[in-house]
């Protein structure tokens, strides 16, 4: 661990703290339909969209209508992407003449991008055409993020409103999320990334001669090993910058290239790396402020933010220290940080990022259900590898995905209020709304869906032939790989331990189902809670009101997230990363 490393982590944390309020206020103004400085440009476009689509701007929806609109929109988007993938060969902007995508992979990818997961079972540069990347994948980066933000706002409205049967209009919320919240920042972000060296073109891939020819050994099917001399390489190109900004800002994480944010065309400099991390947390962190503003309890917003911040910092510290410590099995290797090397466990890391920025990126991307990676998670030390795993297992509530993080966190808030709220001698209340059996039922359902899906699919995978077939490393690490894949899918994160070969019928299909369950089966109960809370009377605050502000509540929220979220997975974790860590210390690796 180095002073420079700590400085970068703290600098990052400071920037997030600083942008939380401006971002939160901006989102508040956008969704409360107050004027913003972008109105002169965007308002006419907005009106045009409504007129073209026949959307009644003023019409409010019940939670059920809101949910149906969201499902219809997502289903249509999913189908669109599936179709594009299936016929990309016959469509323009396919200079590499990449083939149509196979059905199971096309399904998996369509689900993955619709659910804001961006799990990639494929290598993009050799699978997806430019058109598929732009019209299919980048479109979904915007669409799924806009849906997430709209839902979060609808849920906040549910908490804030009283005796109301409606929670907003899905089409209006999604449109405004797209136009105001996502588009302008993505445009500016893309330009900034271009300035750092991210490419943006529609050229065919470049063929470059190697300065030094390489000799590789290749094994023929008959088992004879043959030497081959390589003199040239293909350098993939494409409209990267435009997709890169929204990939981070919308916490999507699906890379334009297989190497994702480790690829120099996606993430060329330490500055672009820092900028990308800031983009990830910008909206999720800002939304906590919006929560406070809309519900009229700014201190509650900060209490939720603080709980997230604490969990984030703990994750970073654990990951950074585990990585900086390096791998004890490499006894003969000098892994001390010095002027000439970052030290620690550099396996699977980019030299331009080093230990601190890799550990920080890993934590941020898994806290926020982004899933972009700038290093190989499979190569992390067991304890550092457990950090992203736990981050996702907790339900993607440490800032979380755009919108999804906040509404996921609100489920834990409701559970925390319900469990501990009784201890003040009143029916539990959340900001004046009584938490009753329907709300508890829905909150439990939302939690249940995620843990059940992860555990059942992983359990089947590790005892079935087709499941075990994909595991690249045996033993405890293999269990981590499978667990990570399903956790990442259900949590709509999309990052991978990568060791697992998931492009098989079993994994493509079940991971797709897991992503759908993790997204929509969580959203529906949460929307139901929003509808139920909106309809309730609001009990005015008094000394007897359960405090959802201050350090005490923050501690309580953290405890509930950890106990309810993590206890479920403790047995599985102990056989995976914990065992692996102990084995590594004892001198065994996989």
């Amino acid at each position: 661990m180095t002073g420079n490393g700590w400085f970068q982590i703290l600098l990052y944390f400071g920037v997030i703290l600083l942008i939380t309020k401006p971002m939160g206020v901006y989102l508040y103004r956008v969704f409360e339909r107050k004027s913003t400085w972008l109105d002169p440009v965007l308002r006419p476009i907005e009106r045009l969209i409504y007129r073209a689509c026949g959307i009644e701007e003023k019409k409010e929806m019940k939670w059920t209508e809101y949910g149906v609109a969201m499902l219809v929109f997502s289903a249509a988007s999913l189908l669109l992407l599936y179709l594009i993938e299936r016929v990309q060969l016959w469509l323009p902007w396919n200079p590499q003449k990449l083939a149509n995508v196979a059905p199971d992979l096309a399904w998996n990818t369509a689900v993955s991008f619709t659910t804001n997961t961006n799990w990639q079972s494929y290598t993009p540069e050799s699978t997806m055409s430019y058109l598929t990347q732009m019209a299919g994948l980048a479109y979904h980066n915007f669409a799924s993020a806009a849906v997430g933000i709209a839902l979060a706002v609808a849920v906040i409205r549910g908490v804030a409103r009283k005796e109301s049967s409606t929670i907003g209009n899905f089409w209006v919320d999604a449109t405004r999320a797209f136009l105001w919240a996502l588009l302008p920042f993505s445009l500016v972000g893309a330009l900034f990334l271009v300035s750092q060296g991210v490419v943006q073109n529609l050229h065919p891939y470049t063929n470059a001669s190697l300065l030094e020819s390489q000799v590789i050994e290749k094994q023929n099917p008959d088992g004879v090993v043959k030497k081959e001399t390589i003199t040239s390489q293909v350098i993939a190109q494409g409209p990267v910058a435009s997709q890169e900004a929204i990939k981070m800002y919308g916490t999507n994480g699906g890379g334009f290239f297989n190497a994702n944010s480790a690829h120099p065309f996606e993430n060329p400099t330490p500055l672009s790396n820092f900028f990308q991390m800031c983009l990830i947390f910008a909206i999720p962190s800002g939304l906590t402020y919006t929560l406070g503003r809309m519900t009229g309890s700014q201190r509650h917003g900060w209490a939720v933010w603080s709980a997230m911040a604490v969990l984030f910092l703990v994750g970073v510290v654990v990951a950074y220290s585990a990585e900086a410590r390096g791998n004890p099995l490499l006894a003969g290797v000098n892994s001390r940080a010095s002027d000439t090397q970052p030290g620690g466990n550099m396996e699977g890391k980019e030299v331009r990022f080093g230990i601190a920025d890799s550990a920080l990126f890993t934590t941020v991307t898994t806290d926020a259900s982004c899933g972009a990676v700038n290093n190989m998670h499979d190569s992390l030390t067991p304890i550092a590898g457990m950090v992203p795993l736990i981050n996702i297992m907790l339900g993607e509530v440490i800032f979380g995905g755009v919108g999804a993080g906040l509404y996921g966190a609100l489920v834990f808030v409701i559970l925390a209020v319900f469990i501990a709220g009784l201890m003040v001698g009143r029916t539990p209340e959340y900001l004046g709304k009584k938490i009753e059996s329907f709300d508890v039922k829905m909150a439990v359902l939302a939690i249940l869906i995620t843990s059940v899906t992860i555990l059942i699919f992983s359990a089947i995978a590790v005892v079935s032939k087709f499941g075990v077939a994909g595991i690249s490393n045996p033993g405890a690490h293999g269990l981590s790989q499978v667990l990570y894949a399903y956790t990442s899918s259900v949590g709509n994160n999309g990052s991978a331990f990568a060791g697992l070969n998931a492009n098989t019928l079993w994994y493509n299909t079940t991971l797709g189902v897991a992503m759908l369950l993790g997204r929509f089966f969580m959203i529906i109960p949460i929307l139901a809670i929003a509808g139920s809370l909106a309809a309730k009377k609001q009990v005015p605050e008094s000394l007897g009101t359960f405090p959802v502000t201050g350090p005490l509540f923050t501690v309580l929220l953290i405890s509930v997230v950890l106990i309810v979220g993590a206890l479920t997975f403790f047995p599985a974790l102990s056989l995976g990363p914990i065992l692996e860590h102990l084995l590594m210390n004892a001198g065994k690796a996989f």
């Binding site: 059940v452 206890l567 047995p571 102990s574 914990i578």
Partner: protein, 681 residues
Amino acid sequence: MTTAQAKNASITDRKILKTAIVDSFRKLDPRLQIKKPVMFVVEVGAVITGVVLVLEAFQHKGNFWFGLQITLWLWFTVLFANFAEAMAEGRGKAQAETLRKARAETQARKLRPDGKTELLPSSKLRSGDVVLVAAGEFVPGDGEVIEGVASVDESAITGESAPVIRESGGDRSAVTGGTRVLSDEIKVRITSNPGETFLDRMIGLVEGASRQKTPNEIALNILLAGLTIIFLLAVVTLQPFAIYSGSPQTVFALVSLLVCLIPTTIGGLLSAIGIAGMDRLIQRNVIAMSGRAVEAAGDVDVLLLDKTGTITLGNREATAFYACPSITEAELASAAQLASFADETPEGRSIVVLAKEKYGLRGRELAPHNPLFIPFSAQTRMSGVDMDGKEIRKGAPEAIARYVAEKGQIVPEEMQQHIERIAKSGGTPLLVAQNFRVMGAIELTDIVKGGIRERFDHLRAMGIRTMMITGDNPLTAAAIARQAGVDDFLAEAKPEDKMALIRNEQAKGKLVAMTGDGTNDAPALAQADVGVAMNTGTQAAKEAGNMVDLDSNPTKLIEIVEIGKQLLITRGSLTTFSVANDVAKYFAIIPAMFAGTFPLLNTLNIMKLRTADSAILSAVIFNALIIIALIPLALRGVKYRPLGAAALLRRNLFIYGLGGVIAPFAGIKLIDILLSWLHLA
């Protein structure tokens, strides 16, 4: 009943204990268990381990001794939870028995339309029938006195042995079936059908037979069921992970892990807490018509309290004499006393007493003076005495002013000032005049009940607003409100004002509680979220409220609120405790399960438990014993403290949250040591 109960406490307790033990086994019936999902899972687990135990014994496989202990302790876990519930029910059952005796069949004298009476059993009476009840007879059913006055012994219901007066008309007209008329004869219109009487309802309530789960209890049950499902899956899927890792687990280990993880502590004690909460109300002689009302009592935001009887002692007392300049205070006191001798009202008597205490005026022989007492009349609004050619009058300032004005006299300026000051300070001024000349003023003061101010302070700390309802003028009301420390008051209140006030508060989202007894209180009692009717009140009031206070003590509303809060606090604390316990159990069982295959995982065995078997068994035993250990707390309730929500939360989170994390580490370790000492594992 309260005194009788105290005497028989030890006998009843032993009887309750015996019944409870029997009931614990009876409650093993799966049809009863399924209503408590958490304990049902434990029971199913116990059956499974039992079956496996027998199968393995036949095949000479496995560790029989270990399996047997696990199975037994799982059954104990269920039994302990049943025992908790049975104990909670026990006291109510004992009480129901007493009540049943009061319900015994009696003969009723029904009045037929032709004016004749017919004898028929009380069970044949229908609502609307009119019966005659004479001295020595039992009232055959709930009803309203429509003719006559009688003293009635209601001890069968209230436990209070002093007879009460019941009369037709007014607010003291309700009689309850099973009570006994001691004197005179009354005509009663029956208002309930057999099986629906107050006594029937009471028996149902104390027995817990008609106990329905309250809204909050249902919500909590859902949470517990949800957690149970989650942990069930965590354990079921653990086996595939274990098989993959090459360390498959025994059924005993898996079931043990499951039972330790699911919230058995709160799952086992939840219904006992609810029953005990209702029972605490019954102990204080309050009958809640539904558990919902008890919960609502904990949520109350506003208490509407009648001034008289709740905040003040009910009667004004004379506290000072203010004499006119030409007259001594002793003279004034003497005149006032003379004027009050025949005044039987508490105010009148307090004047006599004050004069006696202050000036030693006592033992007067009045007869030789031939006094002529003038009683109070609504027209003159004065009372007094004529004797020895003196005409002494006392009354309200306006009345005396009018009286002296007849002879051209006026109330001196100085007295006017006294009158105003007294009214402003919450007192009631009276003037005394002799032969049409004002002698001075008497100050009557409303006496605020001792300790009431502190109670209101407590309520305020809990965020509950108190509101005094009074017929007094705003000036007096404000003064009393200040003295008593209520937050707000409604002066010159009419029944419809009360109703409007409740509606208004409810529209703001607040829950309102009130007490009442009169028929004109009934609509407000029905509108309030918690309406406590006085048992002495009218049938209409008792029907409208959702609680009846058998002692008819309006101050009890505060206690009811506290009981409601205590019920919720107990539930929340034990839930938190139960969930927090899981952390330690994981650290006991997970290493025990896998350390055999991966000795390295013993690093997680931070309690340093001796063997794998001992670790699992210790966790299961702890899990069972903690239920027994917490039964007293569940029945008694977590001690309620009048603190603000933030302070209360901090305190309870510290005790039950942090305590819940730490306690099992110590407990499991201790059991582990004991087990190895006893060579049990």
